[in-house]
Each structure stands twice: as C-alpha cells, then as structure tokens.
C-alpha cells in the first residue's frame, strides 16, 4: 500500500523544499507555518500490462467484449490521444502502443480490413512522424503510416461531419471517417481528472465549430473546477457529456479504453524530484547538487534539449474498457487514489512552481501564454470543492517566463501576445473582439493543416483556461519572471521569493497563511 499524500506544516526542522521553475529547479525555504501539500507515493504498477489489456478488452464495462464487436467487412476507426499526454512523454513502450497492438491484432484476427488510425489532436498541432512513432510503436507505425495513420484535421471540410446539436444548441461536428465508422475505439491516457470520458471523442476529433461551444470564457468561469468533472461542477464537462449523448443518439458506437498511470514522474537521475526532501538519501542530495549546478551552467539551448529528451518512467495502474461513462468512473477513482489529498480550508497565498513541460510544449518552447495556462489554468484548478487560496488571495509562481516562442508550433501565440495582450488581458473582451478573426485566419489554418502549428484560436483557449483564476485572485506574482512578459500578462515579477511575499503583503497583509502546492508529481487537493 502506497503512502497517501499529506500536508506538512513547515517548522524549524523542515529543510528547504524543491521548487520547479521551468527548465530549472531550486531549493527554497518557506516561512514557518506554511502548509506543504505532498502527493501520495506512486501506486504499484501493473506487472503484466499486456495481460491486463487483454483482460480489459475481454471484460469491458457496459459493453460486449471488443472481440464481439469486431466483424469482417466493418469500418473500424481507432482514435488515439495525442502528444499532449502523458507529461513528460513516457519511456517506450508507450501505453498507447501496447493497447493498440492488442486491439489491432484482435481486429486482424476478426477479419477487419477497413481500419484507420487517427491521432485525436483536435486543434492541437499535428504530430510529427517521429512523435507518432513513439506513441504507437514501430510495428503499428510501419504498417499504417502515413496512409492509414493520420493526424486529425479539424479544418478539412471534406472530412468533417455535422452530427447534430445538443439540447443547449451546441453543434457537434467530428471527423467524418470516425463518425461514419461502425465502431470507434478510443485509446486514452488519463493523466488528470480533466482528461478522458466524453472529452475524448467529442473534443479530440472535433472541429472549431464544435469546440467553441465549451472552450469559451463563459464555460471556463463556470467550471469550478474543471479538474472536478462531476455533473454540475464543471460546465465544460457537462457540455462534453451532452455532446457525447448526441453522438450516441446518432448511433455512433464508441468503445473506450482508458488507462491510468502512477506518479513516478521523473526518471533517474532526477528521481529525487519524485520524493520528499527530508527523505533524500545522501546520493540523492549529491545528485540534486550536481544536477542543479550542471543545469545552471549549461547554455540554455543545450539545457532545453536535455529537458525535452526526458522520458518519464511512469507505471500503468489501470486499464478499463467499454462504454464511456462506466469506464471513466473507474478511471477517475484510480486517479483520485493516486492524486487526491485532503486539505483543511483555504489560505491567503498559494505557492507553486511551474515545471518545464505542459500539454502544449512537448518538444517545444513554453512561451508566456503557456506559462499562464499551466499556472493559472491547470495548476490553480487542481482542486475539488474550492480553491486552495481564498477569494482575492495571491498566487506566487516560480518560472523565468522568457519572452520566447516556438515559431513553427505557436505562430498565433506570438501574434496573440504582441497584438491581443498588448491591448487587453480581459478574457471576455479578448473573446468578443479577437477570437473569430484568429480562428478563421487563412494563414493560421494553412499552418495548422500543413505545418506543425497549433490552430489560430488555441492561444485564446490558453488564456481562457486561466479566466477563473484571473477573476478570483487578488494578485499574481512570478518569482524570477521576465518583467516585460509578466507585465504584459497582468502579472508582477519578483526577483526572489522574499520579495514576492513582500509584494503579496499589499494584498493579504503581513502575516498571511501560505500553502505550497508541491508538484509535480501532480496531485488534486480536496479542500474542505
């Protein structure tokens, strides 16, 4: 039995604690009395993953076994979670590869000939051949790429199908090949509670026309939190559920395979990052010192390459297959087992470090907007019931926020930063004034379709993800942040943590209660 997560109160004996800050990390001393929330230890991994997959396919929840659904002459489409999962990318073999190999073998045995594979990248950038190969494995890649294994194209009008509208008027439009298949098999990786469920097909294979109904400011402000997908808590998940219903009503059959991972996030020699500081062995302490020194001395370009090559040694903790809802229910409970930590009450200040990678900068650059998304979007929302910080409280993040963008992956981000944020940071204004122009821009569409660019509208979503936090917080302070970049986003930059606390005192007074959200590895705070 793995140790559960817990809340530490900083006292005289507490050592300095590890804080992530982009492509770097540090040990920081926290004021006495600070609450530090640690995730549970990694759950034990499944030893025989292939066996577990076969078992799941043969014993699905709310569905016949997959073997019974596969027939000769049928149209089968397998949709696969894209590059945004897991984080960091996992060491080979990727769980998607293992699942795919079992499913495809089964399909072949059953005489299925019309089989296509689609990366469910929605409005994300296309995956490169190498990235796809890593996700699906050499065998699948060689057999299907590039003709039968493709990236989903949300702007290919020819290959989209309008399925219908929900009772709330939300349009559902997804990949035509998938929609016209006899069966869609969805291969998922569920890293955090936000993922999976009805977010898989209705979002992963959708077009802008469909996505805009839930990726918008109104929905974001009513998703508290979108890491808590229970009905009525998260408007975005409610919307996805309605869309899933439309698909089901239209007779589109989905067989979902969801997988969960433990939180063995960092590989050796960075294993110390997975552990609690006072339990570091002499070797781990030495590794920390060496790694820290080396990392600080390495030129940024090389450092970036090193971090980007990091592959996570995560273990698989669960595989569930069958109908979306019963499968997702089990998935969530497994995630909660791994990530949920009970916390009493809110504090005035919430502190967390922003790690080097988020869903949208795998093999890429974490630009300021992605810092915003990861910090105020994802990390801030890692709670159930209520945020860790009180209304009007302060978030202190650690990240250098360099004024850097990946020109191939994030072209619309650059313009968003230079043009939109230079004018306003208010999500509602941004949505009404700029979104449509960016979303329908032919150049961005061209880049999304032919190059490796995120869709023109994507930076807007990144900004909306943080809408609730922006609305809720009194101040956002970034330790070590680029002053100009922070200012543009409405943040304040501080040189040191002490300065940041000093600045926070304007909002929350001299002796605020402080919570340090110690991650990654990721955790969800269940705040009562």
């Amino acid at each position: 039995m793995a140790r559960p997560g817990f809340v530490l109160e900083v006292d005289e004996r507490t050592p300095p604690l590890l804080v992530h800050e982009g492509e770097g990390f540090r040990l920081e001393r926290f004021p006495l009395g600070t609450r530090v929330i640690y995730p549970p230890d990694p759950l034990p991994r499944i030893r025989d993953v292939r066996g577990a997959i076969r078992h799941a396919l043969a014993n699905p929840h709310g569905s016949e076994p997959l073997a019974d659904l596969l027939k000769p002459g049928m149209r089968l489409t397998i949709a696969i979670d894209d590059i945004s999962l897991p984080l960091p990318p996992m060491q080979a073999p990727d769980i998607r590869q293992l699942v795919l190999e079992e499913v495809i073998e089964l399909a072949a045995r059953k005489g299925v000939e019309d089989l296509k594979l689609t990366m469910a990248n929605s409005l994300h950038r296309r995956m490169t051949a190498d990235e796809i190969k890593h996700a699906v494995g050499e065998r699948v890649f060689r057999s299907f790429y590039p003709h039968d294994l493709k990236n989903h194209d949300a702007e290919d009008r020819e290959n989209l199908l309008f399925v219908g509208t929900t009772e709330k008027g939300e349009e559902v439009e997804i990949n035509k090949r998938a929609a016209t298949s006899d069966l869609i098999v969805y291969v998922n990786i569920n890293l955090v509670p936000m993922d999976g469920g009805h977010k898989s097909v209705p979002v992963g294979l959708a077009s802008y026309r469909s996505v805009r109904h839930h990726h918008n400011v109104h929905t974001m402000l009513h998703s508290r939190s979108y890491m808590d997908p229970r009905e009525g808590r998260s408007a975005i998940h409610d919307s996805c559920r309605r869309m899933g219903k439309v698909l089901e009503d239209a007779g589109i059959r989905i067989f979902t395979i969801e997988t969960t991972l433990n939180n063995e996030t960092f590989p050796e020699p960075f294993g110390f990052m997975n552990r609690r500081e006072w339990e570091w062995s002499a070797k781990e302490q030495a590794t920390y010192l060496a790694a820290k020194k080396l990392n600080d001395l390495t030129p940024p370009a090389v450092r970036h390459q090193v971090w980007m090559r990091m592959r996570s040694p995560v273990g698989v903790t669960g595989i569930n297959a069958g109908a979306t809802d019963p499968v997702h229910e089990r998935t969530l409970s497994k995630i909660h087992e791994q990530q949920l930590v009970h916390v009493e009450g809110q504090s005035d200040v919430l502190v967390f470090g922003i790690p080097y990678v988020g869903p949208y900068n795998v093999n890429s650059i974490m630009n300021p907007i992605l810092v915003h998304c990861l910090g105020l979007g994802y990390l801030f929302n890692m709670y159930r019931n209520k945020p860790l910080v009180r209304p009007g409280g302060v978030v202190i993040m650690f990240h250098p926020v360099p004024w850097e963008f990946h020109q191939v992956h994030h072209p619309s981000y650059i313009d968003f930063f230079e043009e939109v944020l230079a004018e306003t940071t208010d999500p509602a204004t941004i949505e009404s004034k700029f979104e449509e122009r960016y979303a329908t821009d032919p150049w961005y569409i061209h880049l999304y379709r032919t190059s490796y660019a995120y869709h023109g509208v994507h930076p807007f979503y990144m900004w909306y993800w943080g809408a609730h936090a922006l609305d809720y917080l009194g101040d956002v302070i970034v330790v070590g942040g680029n002053r100009r970049a922070c200012e543009r986003m409405g943040y304040r930059a501080a040189t040191t943590f002490k300065d940041a606390l000093e600045m926070a005192s304007e909002t929350v007074g001299r002796s605020p209660s402080i919570t340090y959200f110690h991650m990654p590895p990721y955790l969800i705070a269940d705040v009562s």
Partner: protein, 764 residues
C-alpha cells in the same frame, strides 16, 4: 576722425524719413524682416518698396504675405489683426519682383529716397562663384539699376565688420585699405565655375566617380551607380569651388570667401556711388544675434553664427574648442543693428564721401570668449537640454588648451572615426552592427561639426581685434532723447549676463526643445484607401533572416542522405567563396550559378523536398513580426506581394501568406528541371522597373504603397513607393534610411528559436 561729431538733432529720425520712399532688399531674410517691421510700426509716413525674388511658384506678393505671418510681425498683427496688417501693407508697401543675383533688368521706381540693401548670403563658405554673385554682383546690379532708373537715393549698404579681414588690433570706421580689383576677381570667380565643371567631366575624374559609386552601389544596379556617380561629381565641384574661394580669400588677406566678397561689395558700392553721385553709408555690424527688445526679446530666425556652437555645446557635443579665452567675441543684438540702420538712413552723408559705421560691441562693451563660455555654461547648467528618455545633458567643461592641442585632438578623433567607419561598414548584418553604425555616424557628425566650425570660426574667436564704433556712438549721441529711448543702439547698454542667459540662449534652444519633444522616430502607418495599395516584401534578409546562399545550401543538404554529405559538402565549400563573390557582385549571377545544381531534379521531387523539410526550416526562421505586418496589410485591404529572387518551388511554404508571389521561374522540360532559369531573376533595379509597370497595369497607387527590404540593393524597389521601410538594414541602407527619415524596423526571429539549425539528412 573728423566726422565723428554729428550736430545735435532737433527732430527725430522718424521725421527724417517722413514722406520718404525706402527700398528694402532682403525682406525675406533676418535683418530685412526686422527693418521692415520697424518701418511699418514706427514710421507711419515712410513709404516702402520691397524687392522680392519670386520663388517656386509663389509671387513676390505671396512671399511677402507669408512672411507677415512670421513671429517678427506678432506685435503688429496683434495691433492691427491679420487683415488689418495686410491692408496696411497694401497701403504703404509696393512689392517689386526681381532677383539681384540674376542678370535681369530690374524695374525700380524712379523716386527712391533711401535704399537699405540687406540682401546677402548667410553662408560662410559658399562656392566662390555663388559668394561673388550674391555679395558683390547683387549689389552691383542693384546700384546700377537704381542709377539707371533715375533716382538719386541715399544708399545704406549693409556689410560686416569682418571685412577688415585678418587684420589685428583696432579697426577704424573707414574705407578698406586694399588694391584688389573686384571686377577681375568677380570675372575669374565666374570663370572658376566653368573651369571646375569642365575638369569634373574629364574621363579620369568621371571614371573615378564611377568606380567609387560602383564600389558602394554595385549590387543595386547600373542606374543607381550612375546616379551616385553624378552626385559625387556635383559634390566634388562644390567642394572644389569652396576651396577656390577659401584659398583665394586667404591669399588676399581675408579668412573666407564671405568676408572677401563682402569687402569687394563695399569697394564696388563706393565706386558706383561715386560714379553716379549717390550718398553712401556703409553699415558694418559684427556678429548679429537675437534681438534684445524688438520685435520682442529673443526674436531670432534660424540659427545665426554663434548658435550652432551654442547648441552643440548644450548637447555636449563639443568637448573643447580652439580660441583664445581672452579673445573678444563681438556680438550685437539684431535690434541694435536695425535701429542703427534707421538712424543712419536718416543721416545722409555728402555724395562722394561715404560714411562708415561699425555696429559692434567690442570696443565699448567687450565680451570675452571665456565670459561667453561661462554664461552659456551657466545657462545650460540651469536649463540643461533633455536627452530623449535618458534625462539631461551635462555640458562639458572647456579648459582652453590652445588651438594646437585642440587641433591635435580633433585630428585623432577624425582618424578614429575614419577607421571605425571602415570597420563597421564591413560588418555582417546584425542589430549590433546597426547600433555601431549609428554610433559611428553620430561621432563622425560631431567631429565633422567641430572641424567645420573650428576652421570657419577660428578667426572670429581668436582674432584679438577691436572694431571701433566712435562714429556710430557719435550718431547715437546726436539723437533726440525720445529717439534714444525708441531706437537704442548703444553697445554699452547691453548686460551680457541678462542678454545671454535670459534672452539669447532660451531663444536659441526653444526650437530644439520643442523639436526634441515632438520629433519621434519615423513610424509605419497602415492606412486603408480607396485605390489599390501594394505592400511589397523582399524575402531574403527581410522576412527570413538568412540569405539565399544559406537557405540553398540548407535545402541541398537536406536532400541528401548522410553518406553523401562529405562529398557534397566538400564540393559546396570549395565553391562557397565563388558563390559569395558572385552574390556580392550580382545576385542574378549567383542565382544562375546556383540553380545549375538542380539540373535533372524532378518537379515532384523538389516539391516533396520543400514540403517535407524546407518548409519547417523556413517557418522556423520566418520573422514573426514580418508575418504580423503582412497580415496587417491584408486586413487593411492592401495587396501583399512577396518579391524574391529565390526559385518558385522554394517559396511554396510561405506563399499562402501573400496575395501574390513574384519568384524566379526555373525551366522545366518533361517534369525535370533543366538547371536554367525560364526568365531573368528579378533583382536590384529590375525590381523598381517591374514595380512601376505592375502598378500601372493594375492601377495601383504607388505613392500610398509600401515596400519592405533589408539591403541597399533594394533601393530601387524602396524608392518606387511612398512608404518605404528599411527592415534590419545593412549599413548602406541604414544610412540612406536615416538620411531620408524612412522608418527602420528590426524583424528578428522569436526568442528561443535556435539560430543555426542543421538539416536532417534525407531518409532512404
């Protein structure tokens, strides 16, 4: 001096000029305006004739009207209103059109009583012929025309105290002691222009100009080279004629052509006046600066002699200046000169016995160079000039180390600037290079400035010379009590501290202060228009921060598997010098050479190569600012055009960004490239010509159109449109853009992207 005593007047000079008809020349100039203003304001019974040169489509009368709205007439306008002033002018002023610098008959009225000849060149070192034209021949023509018209007026000839030339000591108010024949000098001066023009057209000279032009503009094309060579020839002629003037003046004992020709003018005036029996007064003011009282304290037009130095000092640009600290700087406020002139005009000497007047301060109220420096410094310490965004200038302290030391320092600085200039002009294109060029240009400007003024004004600040003004003073004393109050010109009356610190320096710096607040860097403004507007973008170096050679080598390598790299690289490296050379000489030639490498490649293969590998390379290097600008233009409804010498297939990845792409077409036979171009590449000047034809065909408004380019070789393209923008320019274009005040922008890649990327070898 016998004539220094004037009988005490009983009536005012106003009455002296009552009912008189007064001709004023040089009304559009500094002194002329002030004189006319006073005549209009204080002499209600004097009638005026203004001799005004029509200019650029505006008649003499229109020019007069324009001048009436200048600050000199503020008080009058306030008193009479703008219309009232015009009515007053209509009533009392006759405007005669004519140009004394031209050989045209002047139609002057026959009943002139006084002539105030204020017209003069303000330049100290004009080409020799121009100096003679305005300062000597202008006066000659004017006086001859007056004599011919039948009037017998009192000539008041405005000269300068410095006609005394290089003499030291005390200079009397008397005729100049020299035997130079002005007619011969004038004739030879005009001859010099013809000689120098002819010399500049000799083949050796022309070839030299061409060579220099080619070295700098070779890549831009033959037309640009030709234009530049002609510019160089003209500049050479001017410089040479200036030298003619300076050296001629100096061999005769004058420091420069200005004082020399002024001296000649005096002599001519004396002779002509004697010949025609006209009374003549010669007024010799020293250095005229802003007015002390009239039309208002601090009134000044443009910069006078001391002002550029005062300003440059205030900017901190003159660390040291030659000049003797005890030397006397003879400054006189403009209104003193005007008042003296009016008093002189009312005091008619006997014909044949010209009267000479020094209007100066040196003998009665001397201002030493060190005091001038001290007071100006005091002013700046209290009111320093602002530096945009960086606080205020701290003015340097002069130690007056003597002319020799200053000269040595100046020479060192000149040599340094020369070397620095050569170095930065050859640096590769980068932001750092541009900053350096800006700095070197700034330094050069300062050094050249100090050099120019040290050479020019050396005599004025070093001369230990005093211009006596006994006669002027006697005239002053003879005035009625009322006139002395109304028309003061007693030099001992000047409080230098008050004048310099409170009146003159604020007046001189006011314009600069206003300007530095308003003068922003030129910026691109994108406007929507009815007519078709084009936005042209050069590709290499402008929207992609790499040159053609780099991108082609890259594409070439990406096309080959690893094991073939060494051989290809070896061959490429062996050829790179010749490619670069060809590119430097002529981009078209380079392209022709390089495209040969694609002989035998299939169209399909190249397209695949571009889509799969070159595309990512290009998008990664594509400047984000460029993309944003292109899209801004599209949004404004402009037609965006990419113009490049690269081959069409290589532009595919960024083509959708533009409405139109103009690229080199490769010849294709049976789906295979032949290695030849189907059309000559569009580079250099060909772009300008192409653009004009295109605009005509499409009905585009080039005046409202935009062009973006990085290289001096794109000058033709940039000059063809109304809104040219230099993007990350090379040194040559940077200088052109700064001179013409074109917007200069820096479009780089986004931070965090690798600068150098190696292609990944082709898969097999």
């Amino acid at each position: 001096m016998v004539e220094t005593a004037f009988p005490k007047r009983r009536s005012s000079i106003v009455r002296g000029l009552a009912g008189k008809r007064v001709l004023v020349t040089g009304f559009t100039g500094f002194l002329g305006q002030a004189v006319v203003e006073r005549l209009l304001a204080e002499f209600p019974d004097a009638r005026l004739v203004l001799l005004v040169r029509p200019q650029l489509g505006s008649s003499g009368r229109e020019r007069v009207d324009a001048i009436l709205s200048r600050p000199a007439f503020n008080a009058l306008r306030e008193r009479h209103g703008h219309e009232g002033l015009r009515a007053l002018v209509d009533e009392r002023v006759e405007v005669v059109e004519g140009d004394v610098a031209r050989e045209e008959p002047l139609a002057l009225p026959r009943d002139l009583d006084v002539v105030l000849h204020c017209a003069a060149t303000v330049s100290f070192d004009p080409p020799i012929d121009e100096g003679f034209q305005t300062n000597l021949l202008g006066a000659v023509r004017l006086y001859e025309a007056i004599a011919a018209s039948g009037s017998r007026p009192h000539l008041v000839h405005v000269s300068t105290a410095y006609v005394a030339g290089n003499r030291r000591g005390v200079i009397p108010e008397a005729t100049l002691d020299h035997r130079v024949d002005w007619r011969t000098e004038a004739e030879l001066a005009l001859q010099a222009r013809r000689d120098v023009e002819a010399a500049s057209r000799k083949p050796e000279m022309l070839e030299r100009f061409l060579e220099l032009a080619r070295r700098e503009h070779g890549r831009a094309g033959p037309q640009t080279v030709a234009e530049d060579a002609e510019e160089r020839r003209k500049a050479w002629v001017t410089k040479r004629l200036v030298r003619y003037g300076r050296s001629r003046a100096q061999t005769l004992g004058w420091p420069d052509i200005y004082t020399f020709t002024k001296a000649m003018g005096e002599r001519a005036a004396e002779e002509l006046a004697a010949e025609h029996g006209l009374p003549l007064s010669i007024v010799r003011p020293s250095i005229i600066e802003s007015a002390l009282r009239h039309p208002y304290p601090g009134w000044i037009e443009g910069f006078k002699m001391a002002d550029p130095i005062i300003l440059a000092y205030g900017r901190g640009a003159i660390p040291e200046f030659p000049g003797i600290p005890e030397g006397i700087v003879d400054i006189i406020p403009a209104d003193f000169v005007v008042n003296a002139m009016l008093a002189i005009a009312a005091t008619v000497p006997e014909p044949g016995r010209p009267a000479y007047y020094h209007v100066s301060s040196g003998s009665r109220n001397p201002l030493q160079f060190k005091d001038l420096y001290r007071l100006v410094r005091e002013y700046y310490q209290e009111h320093p000039l602002p530096i945009r965004g960086r606080g205020e200038v701290k003015v340097p302290e002069w130690s007056f180390p003597g002319a020799l030391r200053v000269e040595r320092r100046l020479r060192r600085a000149e040599r340094f600037v020369e070397v620095a200039d050569r170095v930065v002009s050859h640096l590769p294109k980068s932001k750092r290079m541009r900053d350096l060029v800006r700095r070197v240009d700034g330094d050069r400007g300062r050094v050249e400035f100090v050099r120019r003024y040290a050479d020019l004004y050396g005599v004025y600040t070093e001369a230990e010379v005093i211009y006596t003004d006994d006669r002027t003073h006697a005239l002053w004393r003879s005035l009625t009590e009322g006139d002395r109050k109304r028309f003061p010109f007693d030099a001992s009356d000047i409080d230098w501290r008050r004048y310099l610190v409170e009146v003159h320096c604020p007046a001189v710096t006011a314009g600069v202060r206003a300007l530095s607040a308003a003068r922003a860097e030129p910026k691109v403004r994108i406007r929507e228009r009815e007519q078709l507007v084009l936005a042209l973008f050069d590709m290499e170096g402008t929207i992609l921060p790499s040159n053609v050679v780099e991108s082609y080598v890259w594409a070439r390598m990406a096309d080959l598997p690893w094991d073939r790299w060494p051989a290809e690289l070896l061959e490429l490296f062996a050829r790179i010098p010749s490619y670069l050379l060809a590119d430097r000489r002529d981009r078209g030639e380079f392209l022709r050479t390089f495209f040969r490498r694609y002989e035998g490649a299939t169209v399909e293969g190249i397209d695949r190569l571009v889509d799969e590998v070159v595309s990512e390379f290009m998008l990664q290097k594509l400047s984000a600012a460029a993309v944003r600008r292109v899209r801004e233009h599209r949004q404004a409804g402009h037609r965006t055009i990419l113009i490049t010498a690269a081959a069409e297939p290589f532009v595919r990845p960024i083509a959708p960004l533009f409405d139109e792409v103009v690229a080199a077409k490769l010849e294709v036979r049976d789906g295979v490239y032949t290695g030849y171009l189907a059309e000559p590449p569009l580079v250099g000047e060909a772009r300008g010509a192409w653009l004009r034809r295109y605009a005509e065909r499409e009905g585009a408004d080039l005046k409202a159109s935009y062009a973006y380019a990085d290289s001096h070789s794109d000058l033709a393209l940039l000059r063809a449109v109304g809104n040219p923008v230099a993007v990350s320019p090379d040194a040559a274009l940077l200088r052109v853009a700064r001179r013409r005040r074109w917007p200069i922008e820096d479009w780089g890649m986004s931070g965090g992207m690798p600068r150098v990327r190696f292609p990944r070898p082709a898969r097999r």
